[in-house]
Amino acid sequence: MHIKRAKDFKAGLIFIFFGIGSAVFSGTYQIGTSARMGPGYFPFALGGVLAGLGLVIVLRSLSRGEGMRKARSFRAKPVVLVVSSVVLFGLLLRPLGLIFSTVILIIVSSMASDEFKKKEAILNAFVLLAIVLIIFVYFLKFQIPVWPSFLTGRI
């Protein structure tokens, strides 16, 4: 299968997935009539339209191809490390506080780069930590846990 088609094919599948999902869940809410629309009416219709569009895209991808087009190389490292550094920050902010989660975020996300240098990343983490503490905690007074919850006793 040609790469160009494969892209449309996958995009179509994603649309079908979200479309059917939306229609199925909307079906469990009240649909109502066209004069008195219930909460399910509009999302049900949208879900149907999206699934239909997805189907057209998938069918077209099977019949029409514009020849080979080189896909940009996919590399797992940047995606996995960047996304997981954000997820980790979200998970650790409450229990560990801003200081530790900042350092972890910076170091994990820095590893996504090809030019990763350990010392430089650690230094960067501490410089940014200082900036964040000064701007967001000291000046802007954001309500954000700074220290781990087991030290402050707050949850």
Binding site: I14, V79, S84, S109, I144
Partner: protein, 501 residues
């Protein structure tokens, strides 16, 4: 005369010391993030939105608007000096701007970019002031049917101006509309698509969605590319233009300003398209099209004027009709709502000092940018030598803290990671995220107006076609779809976006 007294009221508001200071801060931050590739006005406004809570609404809006048009200024500096666009809207400036820099005319290129932007900014501010009152009066005649059709028109516009396949862009709009449905239905109180997660009962936050789709996925994409950034080593000097250069650039600035102003007002249009179209226009009407891409001053003057004009005129639909025409305006709408101001035709009459103050502040801000930009270029150049491997973790960190502080919940950070992954997947599949965001913002409004319209007509959908204004919007939307489906236009459109990619 009424215009003059309105502008006078605006001046009074805009030049109060507090507003002047925050206007300055806004354009300074805007230029800074405009210079840095990889962080744009969307992320910055999202990060700073919570910090504006303590300010009066006018001041907050003046600062946020400053960030937006300031970024258009800053973006050109990076394009000219490094050949990497600081903002998406200054992609075309690279072509001739960097060439000029290589020929030792970097100073001239920077000057014309700043002056062109200033002229365009002044004109757009005036246009905004002139158009605001008549347009908002039209908006008072709008019923639900008109609003619904106008939004259809706006969404079709965002499809036309998105790059890549039209049908995939339609799919992205519909997906955006569906994502906008998540949360509590205002009419019945039903929780839709919240899957029992309490954080989703209020709907998906705009900030996590925008940061995920644009911020995080952009970072991942840049990390995949091997980027080479070489800051111009030679000293930048010679800011003065010769008479010949002025004669060449002045008409280009005028044309760019007009093109940009027009495209900015159109729903779904915006700064990126404005700069592209004005560049193509210059190339088309030039007697010497070969010189473009080789350091033609017009190739800098026209797109830089156009993107700045568009970044200001695109406030027209938001301030008069209450409909944001692009992602950043959607953020501005969010900011207004947070400050207790419902964007729409009522803003002018109920909050005249806010309305005129923000408009006049744009002119003041533009003046500051000209004064600020040229002397600070040395600082920006130093900043650009900070390698991306140190910069992107900082962007991620500021994003995460910004998202957390909107609602003080960590769920939104997880949501951002999810949308980052989704945005990256869509980018790989060549699906543009901008239509999705616009659909997301307009979704709830569209549903509400559809419901009200159908309720008033007792379930008869013909109401959308029998009311003249509503019909006009739908016909315009239909015409746009037909036009991009025509093979000749389609090829041109692909060419235009091809240069971008």
């Amino acid at each position: 005369m009424e215009l003059l007294s309105n502008l006078a009221l605006g001046f009074q508001t805009a030049i109060s010391p507090l507003n002047l200071f925050y206007c300055f801060l806004g354009v300074l931050i805007g230029t800074l993030i405009g210079v840095l590739p990889g962080i744009g006005p969307v992320q910055t406004i999202a990060i700073l939105l919570p910090a504006t809570f303590a300010l009066p609404p006018v001041t907050a809006l003046i600062m946020l608007a400053g960030i937006y048009y300031g970024a258009q200024y800053g973006g050109s500096t990076t394009s000219i000096l490094v050949n990497v666009p600081g903002e998406a809207s200054s992609v075309v400036t690279c072509m001739d701007g960097y060439q000029m820099a290589l020929q030792g005319r970097a100073g001239v290129a920077l000057t014309i970019a700043a002056l062109g932007s200033f002229v365009a900014g002044c004109f757009a501010t005036l246009l905004l002031a002139v158009l605001a009152i008549p347009l908002s009066e039209v908006a008072f005649k709008f019923g639900p049917a008109e609003y619904f059709s106008l939004m259809v028109f706006g969404l079709i516009g965002s499809i036309v101006f998105a790059s890549g396949s039209v049908i995939k862009a339609v799919g992205m709009v519909v997906l955006g509309l569906i994502l906008g449905m998540v949360g509590t239905d205002i009419t019945s109180g039903t929780h839709r698509f919240s899957f029992g997660i309490p954080e989703l009962a209020d709907g998906i936050g705009f900030v996590p969605l925008a940061m995920g789709l644009f911020g995080i996925s952009e970072i991942i994409k840049s990390l995949e590319r091997k980027e080479k950034r070489e800051v111009l080593k030679s000293k930048i000097m010679g800011f003065w233009m010769s008479k010949k250069e002025i004669r060449a650039a002045a008409p280009a600035v005028a044309r760019g300003t007009l093109t940009g102003s027009l495209l900015g007002i159109l729903p779904g249009g915006g700064v990126i398209l404005a700069s592209f179209i004005s560049y193509m226009l210059e190339k088309r009407i030039s007697r010497d099209p070969q010189s473009f891409g080789k350091g033609n001053i017009r190739g800098v003057a026209a797109p830089e004027s156009a993107n700045n004009a568009a970044s200001q005129t695109c406030f027209v639909p938001l301030l008069t009709l209450g409909i944001p025409s692009n992602v950043i305006l959607a953020m501005m709408a969010g900011a207004m709502i947070i400050h207790g101001i419902q964007p729409g035709p009522r803003v002018i009459s109920s909050n005249p000092s806010l309305f005129w103050g923000v408009i006049v502040s744009m002119w003041v801000g533009n003046l500051m940018l000209v004064i600020l930009n040229l002397p600070l270029i040395g600082v920006w150049v130093k900043l650009l030598s900070v390698p991306y491997r140190l910069l992107y973790p900082a962007i991620l960190l500021f994003c995460c803290i910004g998202i957390y502080s909107v609602n003080n919940n960590t769920f939104d950070i997880g949501l951002t990671a999810f949308f980052g992954l989704l945005g990256y997947t869509f980018a790989k599949l060549e699906c543009e995220p901008a239509p999705l965001i616009l659909g997301f913002v307009l979704g709830p409004m569209m549903e509400e107006n559809l419901r009200r319209g159908m309720l008033l007509s007792r379930g008869d959908p013909s109401v959308f076609f029998t009311r003249p204004l509503s019909l006009a919007f739908l016909l315009m939307a239909f015409a746009m779809l037909i036009v991009i489906a025509l093979p000749a236009i389609r090829r041109k459109r692909e060419d235009a976006f091809h240069e971008e990619g």
